[in-house]
Amino acid sequence: MSTSRPISLRITGTVTSTLAVLTGVAVVLPVISIALLAMQPVPDLWPHLIAYVLPQATRDTALLLLGVGSVATALGVGAAWIMTAYDFPGRGWLIWLMPLPLAIPTYIGAYVYVEIFEPLGVVHNVLSLWLPRREALALLPGMRTLAGAIVIIGLVLYPYVYLSARAMFQTQSAEFIEAARLLGANRWQQFMRVSLPMARPALAVGLSLVLLETLNDIGASEYLGVRTMTVSIFTTWLNRGSLAGAAQMSCLMLFVVAALVLLERHGRKARAFAASAESPRLAERVPLAGAKGWIAGLMCLLPPLFGFVIPFVFLLYESVHRSLFGAIDAELLHALGNSVVLALTATAIVLALGLVITLAHRWQSSKATTASLGASQAGYAVPGLILALGLLTPLVAFDSVVNAAARGLGASTPGLIVAGSSAAVVIAYVIRFMAVASGLTQAGFERIPRDYDDSARISGASQWVCVERIYLPLLRPALWGAAILVFVDCLKELPATLLLRPLNVETLATSIYQYASRGSFEQGSLAALLIVAASIIPVVWLTRFADVPNGPA
């Protein structure tokens, strides 16, 4: 064996690097396409937008982000602190319950809470047992308001903050806490002066995820009558017929997204110092006896109760009560089939490409492969609606080229083979959720020492043997995790699916949206229940890994 790298090795490296770069480019393509669309002049639209649309959209978006951020932070941090600092009855259950609201997509949360609090709905009927109907009516909170949207979206997204805060509070080494205690700080001061400041980087990560999800949402805000930037982009294009105007507003929004991504990156960077202690000694949890324990338990029960249990039970009740289980119609089965096939296909592609990108980065760490890895992680930040908007033009252009070529060859024209088929939806999923796979795979690779590669190479193993015998077995947990997360993310995805789905294709998410937008959401209860039930699995999986492995439960 020569000391220089064998030819085959270089070739494999080059192939994977090229693939990685191409994947990175594909992820950035829709954003470039949006920028190009935005260059077209829109003569008479902006005066109207500036006068009537933008002020409201900016205000609603800002208030929604601020509100949801505050609700999610308060619930997430509060619950995480109580869960890590104290022992109380029911805590074992709550560990599993607390993150479950992540299984409720924002739009389903909105549909359910509108149903529950509407006039002549469940709450109104219960109140009417004691009060005259019209007086009871006055007590119903208005769900279709900005405040309603803030509460509903905050309730289903707080687990992002909770999970990152709890992981942080758990790994903060006991030394700091004990030092604070010795200096005479009480529990509250320890929390405010030591734990919270040290957890700030992790909170930035959790919070930026919450805010990105809020920006991505269109189903909930549209349904609740909140006219955010996202909703305004949707209506500018679809109701005012101005694609360029929508693209220009999308560019504005991408600046907000970029700011959030920077916040998240900043958080990650700072994390390194915070979690520097190797296998920290965990601070002892203080047992809370009697009434105090019950109060702590109840306080921690409220967020998952409203964020998960109530919507889940409501959907279950509606599905049973309308005997939807008994009469599963062909339409629902069709939607279920489409959802599963699209999600599975996208998941397979995402995993393969995620593996390629991270492999390239491991084998040939160059500027190009690092940039591809970065680009692949950026797709998640682009709201699904903007992604779809940016994909349409290049996909149709590609199809036109194919059709022109077919015409030139005298063959029959195939029509829109990409833009007019499920391929468009799959491409959108792949771009949007690539970050999940490449992020988790990358984290998995970081745990595989480089010595393994060297030993394999010395013993003359080819790179593929390396992949098969070393990487894949060791990456298995990370790949499974990525597969589950991506699959469920695809299942829940609404905005891009809505705009890109072809003829005869409804998914569970789009059929729920159609029912809701036509005022008969209850008929979509079973479809909603299926999405929620499927989403529970990855959330539970996440919970397992979010716990410190060697720490007490």
Binding site: L120, T413, P414, L416, Q514
Partner: protein, 342 residues
């Protein structure tokens, strides 16, 4: 054969299947319909059409944006037929240049001149009226004008869906056409002041809010009330608590909107598309529109459903549809201007 290779082959195969599942358009015996109508309402029609002709109907249904989608798809769009719910949408489609004139003697014979585009770009296939759902308990009068909706006597008593919704947009555009922009703005301000709550939800929810006591009158389309009364068991109480009044403009007509049909500019299955459009105005389909969807048929000699007939005799507003179309933008701007939806 290694497992890794198996996996990658499986992944590629899965992707390829999705690609090959992409409908091969322009096949014989198909027609591609883009529809704004609820799939549950139009599917029975399509099933009957397939039974009669053997032509398979592919459907994509959405609540907004189909014209833009067809426009973006461009020359190779699979769209054959666009089924819309309002003159506003048809006007959008013609303006977006995604339609082509339909040449059919059969259609010209069946569809009255006032329910079709003079250039043949669209044909109306059914009609609905924008009416008032009034509380049986709290509203004594049995007649009302649209102008009266801005009368302060209704302060805090009216429920309505978003002013930007296509149905309200057409009603407000008709008002602009009749009374001029300034008067229409005054009227919208008055109507806004009479609202019991911020506009939200659909027409059915407005009926529900009347039933719950939130408001005394609501604005909605004729067929929603009939569907609640006859089809949707759990919404029957909402219809039972209300009565339908056919309102009129001061000059005597009730505002109606058309559901209509267009032929896509680049329709790959043009012949089948025209077959479907012609079939939709034949006796069988028109009876389905009347009895399954509770709409007013456009074909002479097809009776309206008894529930709809029970509202009283409809006297459609004589304002030409083109007039409504040209005032839509003004109406939409006025809604923003008076903060109707805030």
């Amino acid at each position: 054969m290694s497992r890794f290779r198996d996996l990658s082959i499986a992944a590629v195969a899965a992707g390829a299947t999705t690609l090959s599942a992409a409908a091969a358009f322009a096949q014989a015996g198909e027609v591609n319909v883009y529809t704004y109508r609820e799939s549950k309402l139009v599917q029975p029609l399509f099933d009957a059409f397939t039974k009669d002709t053997g032509i398979k109907v592919n459907v994509i249904s959405a609540s907004s944006g189909l014209e833009q989608r067809i426009k973006t798809e461009g020359a190779n769009s699979p769209a054959d037929v666009l089924l819309t719910v309002d003159i506003g949408r048809m006007d959008d489609a013609v303006k977006a240049e995604i339609a082509q004139p339909i040449k059919s003697a059969k259609l010209d014979e069946t569809v009255p001149v006032r329910f079709r585009d003079p250039n043949g770009y669209w044909y109306g296939i059914s009609m609905r009226a924008r009416v008032v759902y009034a509380s049986n308990e709290r509203v004594k009068q049995d007649a009302i004008t649209y102008e009266e909706l801005a009368d302060p006597k209704w302060k805090g008593k009216i429920c309505i869906r978003s002013g930007q919704h296509i149905y309200n947009n057409a009603l407000f555009a008709a008002y602009v056409a009749k009374h001029g922009e300034a008067k229409a703005e005054e009227w919208l301000k008055g109507l806004k002041a009479n609202l019991a709550q911020k506009p939200s939800g659909g027409d059915r929810e407005q009926a529900r809010d009347v039933a719950a006591g939130k408001c005394d009158i609501a604005i909605g389309n004729t067929y929603y009330w009939a569907l609640m009364k006859n089809v949707d068991a759990d919404k029957k109480p909402w219809a039972d608590a209300t009565k339908v009044i056919l309102p009129t403009f001061a000059d005597g007509g009730t505002h109606v909107n058309l559901s209509g049909v267009l032929l896509a500019k680049n329709a790959p299955n043009k012949a089948n598309a025209i077959k479907l459009i012609e079939w939709l105005v034949e006796d069988k389909a028109q009876h389905m529109y009347a009895d399954v969807n509770y709409e007013y048929p456009v074909r002479a000699g097809v009776a309206v459903n008894p529930t709809i007939a029970g509202y009283g005799k409809l006297n459609p507003d004589a304002l030409p549809i083109a007039k409504i179309a040209e005032n839509r933008k003004t109406a939409s701007t006025l809604v923003d201007k008076v903060g109707f939806d805030n």
